[in-house]
Structure formats: C-alpha cells, structure tokens
C-alpha cells in the first residue's frame, strides 16, 4: 500500500521554499507530541507541540499536523531560511511517561 509521510533522513531545500518533515509515531495511545530542532553540538530546542485532541497547530512560520488514523505527524516550515538548517526530531508520549524520540531528519537549506 501507499506509505503516508515516509520518513526521510535528509531533506534539502532552497531558501524561500516550504519544507515538510514527516514523522511516524509508534504508540496509538500517545496523546502529546513535540517537534524539536537540534543544531550541531547543541541541545534540542523546542519548536511546537500538539495534543491529540487537535489535528493542526500553527506557530510562527511553523505548522504541525497530526493524523491519528495513520499515526503520522508532520512539521511544515514556511519560507525556509538557512538558519533553519538542523536536525529535526519528533517526540511522543502518554501522560506520566517519558518522551520517546523518533528518527531525526537533517534539513539542509541552500541559498
């Protein structure tokens, strides 16, 4: 069947383009999700979060979409800038348990 939101380990875009980073989460009982950005040699930086009672949340230049039917999460970055180049991780959890991080996607933005 068709794979929705196939995870890509790397994504290369041109400055000004929109970027979409996908994540498949593992636990259908998870009810809280976070996207983090991690630059080389630094700790993860919070970008945006979403709870399972929502399917979309917008921040500044970023939008997170949640599809619980297929256990898929995506991060959309509008007008991608060179400063957006980093590794992006999604994370999930169930209340009372630790965050579980997905595989990272390295975003490279060329000007």
């Amino acid at each position: 069947g068709e794979s929705v939101g196939l995870h890509l380990p790397t994504l290369s875009v041109q400055e000004g383009d929109n970027s979409i980073i996908n994540c498949a989460y593992s636990n259908s009982a998870s009810d809280y999700f976070i996207w983090y950005k991690q630059e080389s040699g630094k700790g993860p930086q919070f970008i945006i979060d979403i709870r399972s009672n929502m399917d979309k949340r917008q921040g500044q230049r970023v939008t997170v979409l949640l599809n619980k039917t297929v256990k898929h999460l995506s991060l959309q970055i509008a007008a991608t800038q060179p400063g957006d180049s980093a590794v992006y991780f999604c994370a999930e959890n169930i209340a009372g348990t630790a965050l579980i991080f997905g595989k990272g996607t390295t975003l490279s933005v060329s000007s």
């Binding site: 009810d31 040699g41 700790g43 930086q45 919070f46 709870r51 959890n93 209340a95 965050l99």
Partner: protein
Amino acid sequence: EAEVAQSPRYKITEKSQAVAFWCDPISGHATLYWYRQILGQGPELLVQFQDESVVDDSQLPKDRFSAERLKGVDSTLKIQPAELGDSAMYLCASSRRDTQETQYFGPGTRLLVL
C-alpha cells in the same frame, strides 16, 4: 530567557575512570530528566525526577550509573567506571510539573571515553 544549565560542556576521560555531570534546571521546574544521545540518534531517557524523587530509572544502567537531585533543584549524573560505549551526549531537560509540559533542554555534555 531562563535556560537549563549543564557543565562541563565537554569531558574526555579514560575507561574505568569516574565522571560526573551537573545540571541546573529552569527555576521552578519540578521535573528533571537526564537523556543520553548517541550520535545520529534521538535522545533516550536515562532517569526522570519529580522534585527530589526518582519516578523513572528503568533505562538507567544502575551497575555503573547513578543520579541524584538531593534538594529537588540541581542534579548530578555519575558514571563509574566509564566504558568506551558511554561516549555520547548527555542532555538534561526540565519541565514545570509533569511529562506533558514542554521539556526544555540544556546544551548537553559531550563525553568521550578513551
């Protein structure tokens, strides 16, 4: 803007030696986490504190790792003896009260065991 502080930022040690990492969470954050991140992978939880109590240390290799948060504020993670496979980034994070509050990460301590 308040941040999670960690020290040292880098540590090189020889196997069988003891190492210790320190974390100071954001003021007022009751929950503190220690994660380990191997290069190219996402962070994995080692231990979680709520105030001064451990609430999850199921993934902490207790034969060599220990963690404490005696006064419910700052925390220390210790490895004794260090092994080659412990080389990784050790990250501390904190959140206001529970696991579904946003977790904010410190800059990490990069450990290299020779």
